[in-house]
Symmetry: C2
Subunit: 261 residues, 2 copies
Amino acid sequence: MKLDETSKKPDETRGPGRRLHGAIAHRLGTDILSGKYAPGDVLSGEVAFAEELKVSRSAYREAIQVLTAKGLVASRPKAGTRVLPRDRWNLLDPDVLGWAFAGEPDIEFVRSLFELRAIVEPAAARFAAARRDKDDLKAMKEALTAMRRHTLTTDAGRAADRDFHNAILAATRNDALKVLSASIGAAVNWTTQFKQRSRALPRNPIPDHVRVYDAIVSGDGAAAAEAMNVLVDLALEDTRSAIEDRDSLPPVGASDALTGS
Amino acid sequence: MKLDETSKKPDETRGPGRRLHGAIAHRLGTDILSGKYAPGDVLSGEVAFAEELKVSRSAYREAIQVLTAKGLVASRPKAGTRVLPRDRWNLLDPDVLGWAFAGEPDIEFVRSLFELRAIVEPAAARFAAARRDKDDLKAMKEALTAMRRHTLTTDAGRAADRDFHNAILAATRNDALKVLSASIGAAVNWTTQFKQRSRALPRNPIPDHVRVYDAIVSGDGAAAAEAMNVLVDLALEDTRSAIEDRDSLPPVGASDALTGS
DNA sequence: CGCACGGAATATGTCGGAGTAAATAGGGAG
DNA sequence: CTCCCTATTTACTCCGACATATTCCGTGCG
């Protein structure tokens, strides 16, 4: 045991159920996404970096394998481990998205995600309207009633919101669409912190969701797509104003322990 | 060194520039995607499996970290390493897509990808028409001329095809869209093997591409989206007929293993 | 008889070191 | 000045040991 009681912990982002190499990957990932390590930069050697992080080479290497699997870095003998250009990153990977939103998210990237969401989600609603069965509709209806009971200010309400969107995705009968939208939705939900930070949601989101639901029930694909389009547009508007508020505010206190999920 | 010359190589998919743990990950990944290991299955212990694969526990563990990073498996002490349910897989990860197409690709999944492509690419063309600059148009024009010179039967021609689509993506000014479409496009190109296997392409793809190009030049977003929509539809038609040809051929495994996720 | 608590077994997680292979940089020969 | 060869640096692989977390099961109590 090389760690004595006086030495500080290797990383503060180390919780239960979170392995050491996962914590290292999280730390390096957020550092890369935040720009601390720019594309083309060469990381210190294995031995040096592992020693600096107070972990063994095994843990460090396993973390590097994770980052390599997500396209963030590449290692070659003699050349070292270097950060890959941004277009090689798997930006749609859930973990990478989480890392991107761990710090101050790039506004341009948020715009990109919302544009993608505005493309994908209406199309998903269109498919759902054409392919849903009774069970799908039942799941949506239950999620809607749950949303009405709890509001979006509670955890249960937000869970119901996710359930509603997930029910739509399940009704599309399209795995690729499902995975993609789930990732984007989760990422977009990271921005919820900004919405809540700036001011409470002034708008009641229930009618928008009901419009989507009604269109899917009646099997009207065009109407479902349009209703979903409106829903996404409103969400974008909320987030945009929240971000602008944030940018006009003084620097946020760094001690906001924002542990994801 | 425990490997002697008489023993068979741990994996035949081991080439230069390909690390050992990468090869292990590739092997396990394809096995999972092909259904050899179904969701919920528990892999043998680290020591046993590593020994079976004729590799050290370190290499095996690093491969598992890669699979974990892509959402295919999850490991917990005492519980072992088990394959996660299919909806946890990062199906849009380039490597996972490659593994999915390494064996006999699932027709339903191919349909999902084409549906997603049909959603995303026209929208990308619409953005490109609105945001492209001179350099973007220049890149597209050069790719088109290269496509005309070499046909799609040559590697250079297919590279030009990719360049054309990449130029459109770059013109969207949307990183998320760029990453996604690049992955999907690469995956769809895996199906090229089926097209070529069945019969030579009877259709000349140049006019379709020129229509997209002209619309983007004139800044007509709606026309660009429609032209791209036609292009994707035709590609889908080609692939569908090629796959049907394959399926009507000798019994490629009559047992449709439909593992309900 | 059923449930809650606690200890033991077991598989993953972490560690440190040794040796191998590969790629770049530098020096030497043509 | 070019080309090839050598040397060095770095990641890659292997090994064996210990630590830790979780599950399982036996025990005791209600």
